[in-house]
Amino acid sequence: MTGRPTPRLAEVIPLDTEGSRRPPTFKVLRYHEESGELEVVVGGGDRFALTPAELVKLARDALAERTFVAHAVPDDGVELCFVPHDDHCDILCIHADMRRRHHGDHRRSLMEILNDLAAAVACGRLRFLTPAQLKTELERGSVVLSRPVTDSATLAVARADVADALAELGFSPERREETILCLSEAATNALIHGGGHGTLTLVDLEGRARLLVADSGPGLDFINWRESGGSAQASMGYGYHIILDHIDDVCLSTSPTGTTLILDQHPRRPEVMSAC
């Protein structure tokens, strides 16, 4: 407990009007308790604000207390979130230019989007996968259908085909509706941020459905995230928020060669929702 920065909310970090114009970044490290290794899961290896030894110490603290811990490092514009799991601790590092935190209109700021992701990891609703873990997940279940998503027209076809297939898999109408909404959000992200081309695959996992949305874009490091928000692109930044609110289990694998989002959904809503 000694020397630990006081956990703080993003909103109380002082506005850094002289801050850099460096693009916002999002990185994930994984500390493996048994081997003591730090593994890069998302993003590159720099700009973590703290040294590896300091990161390991905070990760050990989070694991010992079995508690999600968030730290702010205001001078560097960095937030660090430590999320303990059974045998490892995920370390989410969010770095953002303070002046770009809010648009001043109806759109959500990148900081809010990133904090959604951090909160979802803390709640266990979102898992970041290493390439090896992704490979394992891609081998599960049997493929029901696969569709390219390259524009609004192919996205509409994908929505319709998946809706029919979900009905066959026993999804209730309301469950189908919210799942199709999430599929649309995920595929739209692939179109806008993932290089303009994605592939949608529906997999039967026996008892639940899995939607895979894969693109070959530059990865979800937010370096290339479009925040200009002209009238033609009126995204509100709520895509991940909606997905994380309505999908039972979400997995994300992202690298400079592409992003894969995995949405696992039971045909009916769980009767008891988690506290998150």
Binding site: H106, R107, L155, R159, S184, E185, T188, A232, A234, S235
Partner: protein
């Protein structure tokens, strides 16, 4: 795919049909701006909208806010449940004002 049909009623009214996603921005903006020429209000009828996501919602919100600035009130009516669910999720009423919704 979305279609938009403008009827010059007492208040210019645009009947929307189909799906509102990332691709409806140009159609909706052109139709609404054409109808808004000198009008105090323009009505969007959502009765035949079968799907909307956050991109479609964002386009609607942006149009409402832009028209407010130029002095035209954009109004929405006959919101089906599939649209109402998403509007509620995204707190659209708070963003565009409750007077936007006619029923």
């Amino acid at each position: 795919m979305l279609t938009a049909r403008l009827e010059q009623e007492a208040v210019p009214t645009i009947y929307l049909a189909g799906e509102m996603d990332l691709d409806c921005a140009d159609l909706l903006r052109e139709t609404v701006e054409g109808a808004a020429d000198g009008a105090e209000q323009v009505v969007l009828d959502f009765a035949d909208v079968t799907f909307i996501d956050s991109s479609g919602t964002g386009i609607f919100v942006r149009l409402c806010l832009d028209l407010q600035v130029s002095g035209t009130g954009l109004r929405a009516r006959h919101i089906p449940p599939v649209v109402a669910d998403v509007f509620e999720m995204l707190k659209v009423q708070a963003l565009v004002g409750e007077e936007t919704f006619l029923d």
